[in-house]
């Protein structure tokens, strides 16, 4: 997979692997991100993996783009191909009407029943492609073809924290209340971003996510436990 280096001013380089959203492209991005971090290249401040490219932020007082590109090219040549095991999170999701304001509309627009929409969503093992938009917001895919819808034409000014949403072939969870144009088909009581923790985001790019349906009552019970810091999201390691 060939890489293209693009300048983002004098503080970042974009390493681009393609022009499509695709697991194999994203895996390549994530592998390079891990390689760059492990290499401790002088001047590298941080790496931000996205769908098909890696942004490498650097300090222009310590390094420069030419020597970083040379170092990254070496890493690309040495790139191991094996996939490491990854985390699989089982995230409680309440699809009850009270927690899913757009579920019936999504059913209508896709020609499915609400039960079928929920079944397709909960039966899919999602891949976290990247985190962006707001802190901890995971772009996860791929949503089954039958559920692929464009964004809403009229974005909401306020989407509640915990909303589970779909749009454009992706699913996501809103970690904080924010504006949003995706279809809200459920909600989770868990915390996706906790600034008190040194690893503040629950999910990392490359993780796997499966939603586990809970009732509105269970949602409330878990939310109370989360507020008391007495709940941890079930997580296991997986090779797929």
């Amino acid at each position: 997979m060939s890489a293209r280096f693009l300048p983002a001013g004098d503080t970042a380089i974009v390493v681009e692997f393609g022009d499509r959203i695709d697991r194999s492209v994203n895996d390549r991005v994530l592998r390079l991100s891990a390689q760059v971090r492990a290499a401790n290249l002088p001047g590298v401040v941080e790496t931000v993996p996205t769908f098909r490219s890696l942004m490498v932020h650097y300090d222009p007082l310590v390094s420069d783009s030419a020597s970083l590109i040379a170092a990254i090219e070496k890493l690309l040549d040495s790139g191991g191909e094996e996939n490491a095991p990854r985390k699989l999170w089982r995230i409680p999701a309440c699809y009850a009407e009270s927690h899913a304001p757009d579920l019936s509309e999504v059913a209508q627009r896709t020609g499915l029943s609400t039960e079928e929409v929920v079944r397709l969503h909960r039966d899919t093992r999602f891949h976290v492609y990247m985190i962006g938009f707001v802190q901890g917001y995971p772009y996860m895919g791929d949503v089954p073809r039958a559920l692929v819808l464009p964004r809403r034409p009229d974005p909401r000014v306020r989407v509640p924290a915990g909303s589970i949403a779909i749009a454009a072939g992706m699913t996501a969870i809103y970690p904080i209340e924010s504006p949003g144009g995706w279809h809200l088909i459920g909600a989770t009581p868990i915390r996706l971003f906790d600034p008190r923790s040194l690893r503040p985001a629950l999910l990392s790019p490359g993780d796997a996510v499966q939603f586990e349906p809970v009732s509105a009552h269970e949602f409330d019970t878990i939310r109370t436990a989360v507020a008391a810091d007495e709940y941890s999201v079930p997580c296991e390691m997986t090779m797929t």
């Binding site: 693009l6 300048p7 941080e46 996205t50 942004m55 985001a201 990392s204």
Partner: protein
């Protein structure tokens, strides 16, 4: 007893900022920190602080504050406004000079004048907890600074020091050049190829105006429309402070320090790091012209700027002992 500043009036958008929150862009958290890191650093130098010390960043209109400490030393940098001391001995202190104020003094920084942002450094700094390694306020995410928000009337901003040190006041070795007419240097890309050749030419040949929609997230500009080659959507990728992104309207937006860490609009160019503070000072209504440079030139300019800042800081520090 600890010192504090009581907020008599908060100003338009006054927040605590230090150098920024580094290392969390991969989980969607922008660096925040100062719009104008040069002025923050010089303001800190004038009151004897390390460059990492948090200070108050003000936008457009500064606050009025009351001293609840034996004394505090403050300095204003980044604009051509003044500190007006309205009680005790009424006086005004120009930006670029430190001043020591006494208990119950009320001081005010009014309209910032030609600049949109400026910094009030306080000897010792405000005493707010670091969140994820920084005291910078990220208001949209309600993280850091004073309760994760901008200052409000009747807030008490705690200070590290209850008294300031005995020494002569300091003045900037030369007046800070706000560079309000300087062309802004950019490196083209990362997505200049998403635009027509004419659009790139237009971008570099035209005067844009800073629109009223300018905040810590980004400065929207108004001017000639920039045409995309094929649509205005790209697959979301990383963004950097200074990126000039162009949405469907064809009107550019310069992303600033609270920018989203990823975005789906093409970026025609990126303001070089040396010039981000220069853009940051441009008030709505002011013109911006862009000129393209190579990355190597951008790095050289940043290094020269750093050397000049280092020298200015050392001269200020020396003046304390004269």
């Amino acid at each position: 007893m600890r010192g504090a500043l009581e907020v008599i009036s908060p100003g338009l958008f006054t927040t605590v900022q230090d150098r920024g929150r580094i290392g969390y862009q991969d989980v969607g958290l922008p660096t925040s920190g100062p719009l104008d890191r040069i002025s923050l650093r010089l303001a800190n130098a004038l009151v004897g602080n390390s460059p990492d010390t948090p200070a108050l960043e003000m936008l457009i209109q500064g606050p009025a504050l009351k001293v609840l400490a034996r004394s505090v030393r403050v300095a204003l940098v980044g604009c051509n406004a003044r500190i007006e001391v309205r009680s005790g001995t009424a006086r005004t202190i120009a930006a670029g000079t430190s001043v020591r104020l006494s208990r119950d003094d009320i001081f005010r920084i009014g309209n910032l004048g030609d600049s949109i942002c400026a910094y009030l450094a306080i000897e010792g700094g405000p005493d707010v907890p670091a969140v994820l390694g920084s005291t910078s306020t990220f208001v949209r995410g309600a993280i850091g600074g004073f309760d994760g928000r901008r200052l409000q009337k009747n807030d008490f901003v705690p200070l590290k020091l209850a008294d300031s040190s005995e020494r002569a006041e300091a003045t900037l070795p030369c007046t800070l050049d706000l560079a309000l007419d300087q062309p802004i240097r950019v490196v083209l890309g990362p997505q200049a190829d998403c635009f027509t050749a004419d659009a790139v030419k237009t971008f570099l040949a035209s005067a844009y105006t800073v629109s009223p929609q300018a905040d810590r997230m980004g400065y929207r500009l108004a001017g000639p429309v920039l045409a995309h080659v094929k649509g205005h959507d790209i697959i979301s990728d990383g963004t950097v402070t200074g990126a000039v992104q162009v949405p469907g309207s064809g009107q550019p937006i310069v992303l600033m320090v609270d920018n989203q860490t990823t975005g789906g609009y093409p970026k025609i160019a990126t303001v070089i790091s040396a010039d981000v503070p220069v853009v940051a000072r441009r008030r709505p209504g002011r013109a911006i012209r862009f000129v393209a440079v190579e990355v190597s030139e951008a790095v050289a300019l940043r290094k020269a700027q750093e050397a000049a800042l280092q020298q200015a800081s050392e001269e200020i520090a020396k003046s304390f002992h004269q």
